[in-house]
């Protein structure tokens, strides 16, 4: 599904990712853990194609097609979805209007007919229930005035509507109470279908109790320094990131 080879990326002239390798197979869920500032969000943004990050070396391939020359919307068309660590508030753009535009833009990219209003509303309704979102959120401006938890749930809601091939969730757990966390995990798990892949970025092990990963990586200073199974997350929780420093040194 996703293959990242020797990825170097910098922002404003500073190299942040320093030779990162990652292979994610179809249907797998990978967790990426690491300290604040280790480069997790940078990795997510680089995959999604944010233009202020410059890839200086290496490649990112989705199903054997390089993404590097594609604009963010084309990457979305190829099946990438990024759930933002800090979802942006967009006053004046209604969530439902935006999502419909997004769904149809993706369909157009894939050479499909646009969805009619009725089918679209059906999907919205179903996914709203899945995430136990308040109906009114859809008619409000995108993320405007949403609480932290509402914003994160709204990200997963959008992901559920857009049905991507590769989901990248950047600290979706931060700022969630335990009930919201369960809802989010439930939404994510419902999208695990053995084909769709996921990269779950988190600082804490807690989320991984609910979204059980196949593989856990530790990111440090722009590189993956340790890879293991779900038990790696538990060890990190017990010993802290210093434990990896010792192990990697």
């Amino acid at each position: 599904m996703l293959s990242i080879q020797n990825l170097h990326a910098s922002v404003a002239g500073t190299e942040i990712l320093k030779g990162l390798n990652l292979e994610v197979k179809p249907g797998e869920v990978h967790a990426i853990m690491g300290r604040n500032g280790s480069g997790k969000s940078t990795l997510a943004n680089v995959i999604a194609g944010r233009s202020d990050y410059e890839v200086t070396e290496g490649d990112i391939r989705l199903n054997d097609k390089s993404l590097l020359d594609l604009a963010p919307d084309a990457r979305a068309g190829e099946g990438i979805f990024l759930g933002f660590q800090y979802p942006v508030e967009i006053p004046g753009v209604k969530t439902s209007y935006f999502l419909k535009a997004a769904v149809n833009a993706l369909r157009k990219y894939r050479g499909q007919e646009p969805l009619d209003a009725f089918d679209f509303m059906e999907i919205l309704k179903e996914k709203t229930e899945l995430l136990e979102l308040d109906e009114s959120l859809r008619s409000r401006s995108l993320n405007e005035g949403f609480s932290g938890g509402e914003k994160k749930r709204n990200e997963i809601f959008q992901m559920a509507v857009l049905e991507p091939k590769l989901c990248i969730l950047d600290e979706t757990d931060s700022g969630l109470d335990i009930d919201a966390l369960k809802l989010v995990a439930n939404g994510v798990n419902s999208l695990r279908d053995g084909v769709r892949s996921m990269i779950v970025i988190t600082h804490y092990q807690r989320l991984l109790d609910y979204i059980v990963p196949d593989v856990v990586h530790v990111l440090q200073d722009g590189r993956i320094v340790k890879t293991g199974g779900p038990e790696l997350a538990l060890e990190l929780e017990k010993h802290g990131y210093d434990w990896v420093d010792g192990g990697a040194a």
């Binding site: 990457r75 979305a76 004046g92 997004a102």
Partner: protein, 470 residues
């Protein structure tokens, strides 16, 4: 209004010469503005009006048009320089061609009551005046009433040369009188179209709402006449406990035209005034020559305790447009509230000015004033001068103001793109969202729909011109 009413009748060429004061116009000699004052012919007009015109003319001879030295006019000045000596026609004998309709000029049909003026002349066939308790009349026919004298004077005695010109030379306009305790259910729609090149018009609008009345007043002003001047003065008096919702749209798409409107409002105790203003320049990217100046001065006097005003404005400038939006709010007595939000989108080499002044006078304790101006620049060459000003002489007040000038939020663009929207579409959505905040305040559904349409088509024209410019 039926579709046939949209057709402008072929007019008898002599008709417009019947108007008083300006019979000299029948000679059809273009003259400089000052010369028009010199030939002022007030014969047959009521004495009070003849006096008022002569006084204005004398005052104009002293103050002239605003100059660079006048801070409020600094940025407009290059577009009005030498205007006194530019020649204009002030009446026309040109027939209005049949088959032209208002819809083609981009004027929405809103139902309700309509008053239409073309090149300064009242067009009865398109208008639906009222004279039954509530009055909606052509001003020219109502001037025998000398109580209008008081309503003609602008408060503060700070009339500019343009105000004086208007008083001296106005030919017609609209008189609205709503007695107390009347909730006017019909929308009043005033339409001013300027089509003939080289014309100067000075429409005057006088509106008075009695205590506890309500009115929804919409103005559409469209100028397609090159080298023309439209110099309007609109006076709105909101009585105690009354509510006036005023929606005004000015479009100045003609080359080297000047479209000016001074809106002077007074709001009595517990009265409410709500203004939605949309100012649109040209947006023809090709026009490199001198292009339109559109300027609106909106002055609101809060003169009774508990008076409130909400001013929302949107200005859209492209190409070589110059748009000036000035507001001035006087909190003269305690416990008044003012809110202000003006937004601008500028492309090409357009220039805009937002100059918003809020004055809280010394006795005006417990005033609340909020003022905000936000601008979006779409190109390197676009420019905005924003000057929000608070002048506070009372000590117990809540006031806040701010201004921003920026480009589209890159984070928002990336967010939308990452969900699949192409960048052009994401941009468009963000721009529409930016401006719609103002349109959404318009309560007349057809007018709001019209504004949203105007906005969308302006944005796509601008988008197209941005795409061709490297």
């Amino acid at each position: 209004m039926s579709a046939t009413h949209l057709e402008l009748a072929v007019k008898d060429g002599g008709e417009s010469c019947k108007s008083k004061g300006l019979r000299a116009g029948c000679e059809q000699q273009p003259r400089p503005l000052a010369a028009w004052l010199a030939v002022l012919d007030t014969e047959g007009e009521p004495k009070w009006l003849a006096n008022a015109r002569r006084n204005a003319s004398t005052a104009f001879a002293q103050v002239g048009l605003p100059t660079r030295k006048n801070e409020e006019w600094r940025y407009s000045e290059p577009r009005i320089r030498g205007l006194e000596s530019a020649s204009f026609n002030v009446t026309t004998t040109a027939a209005i061609p049949a088959g032209i309709n208002l819809t083609d000029l981009g004027i929405p049909m809103l139902g309700g009551r309509t008053m239409v003026f073309v090149d300064g002349d009242f067009v009865p066939s398109l208008s639906s005046p009222l004279a039954d308790g509530v009055q909606l009349l052509p001003l020219a026919g109502a001037l025998a009433d000398d109580s209008l004298q008081a309503r003609l004077s602008l408060t503060g005695g700070q009339e500019t040369g343009f105000d004086l010109l208007n008083t001296a030379l106005f030919k017609d306009g609209v008189l609205v009188d709503v007695p107390k305790n009347v909730d006017v259910s019909e929308v009043f729609h005033l339409i001013f179209v300027n089509r003939i090149p080289g014309m100067a018009t000075h429409p005057r609008v006088l509106v008075r709402l009695g205590a506890n009345s309500r009115l929804h007043l919409i103005e559409s002003r469209v100028c397609t006449a090159d080298e023309s001047l439209s110099n309007s003065v609109t006076q709105l008096q909101v009585g105690p406990g009354a509510t006036l919702h005023h929606v005004a749209t000015l479009e100045g798409s003609a080359g080297n035209s000047r479209q000016l409107e001074h809106i002077a409002v007074s709001v009595a105790a517990d009265g409410r005034f709500r203004s939605n203003l949309t100012v649109i320049g040209s947006s023809e990217s090709e026009s490199e020559g001198p292009s339109a100046l559109v300027r609106v001065d909106l002055d609101v006097d809060l003169v009774g305790e508990g008076a409130e005003c909400t001013l929302e404005g949107l200005y859209l400038g492209a190409a070589n447009d110059h748009i000036d939006c000035h507001t001035r709010i006087d909190h003269r007595v305690p416990c008044c509230t003012s809110r202000q939000l003006y937004k601008g989108i500028l492309a090409g080499k357009a220039k805009a000015v937002f100059n918003g002044k809020v004055l809280v006078h010394v006795d005006a304790q417990h005033s609340q004033a909020q003022q905000s101006n936000k601008n979006l620049l779409l190109s390197e060459g676009a420019l905005v001068n924003t000057k929000p000003q608070l002048e506070i002489w009372a000590d117990d007040v809540q006031c806040a103001h701010g201004a921003t000038v920026g480009r589209l939020d890159e984070d928002a663009l990336f967010y939308m793109q990452s969900r699949g929207l192409p960048k052009t579409e994401a941009r468009k959505l963000l721009r529409v969202a930016f401006a719609n905040e103002i349109c959404s305040g318009v309560r007349s559904n057809p007018m709001r729909a019209h504004l949203e349409e105007v906005l969308a088509s302006w944005l796509s024209r601008v988008d197209a011109s941005l795409a061709v410019t490297p």
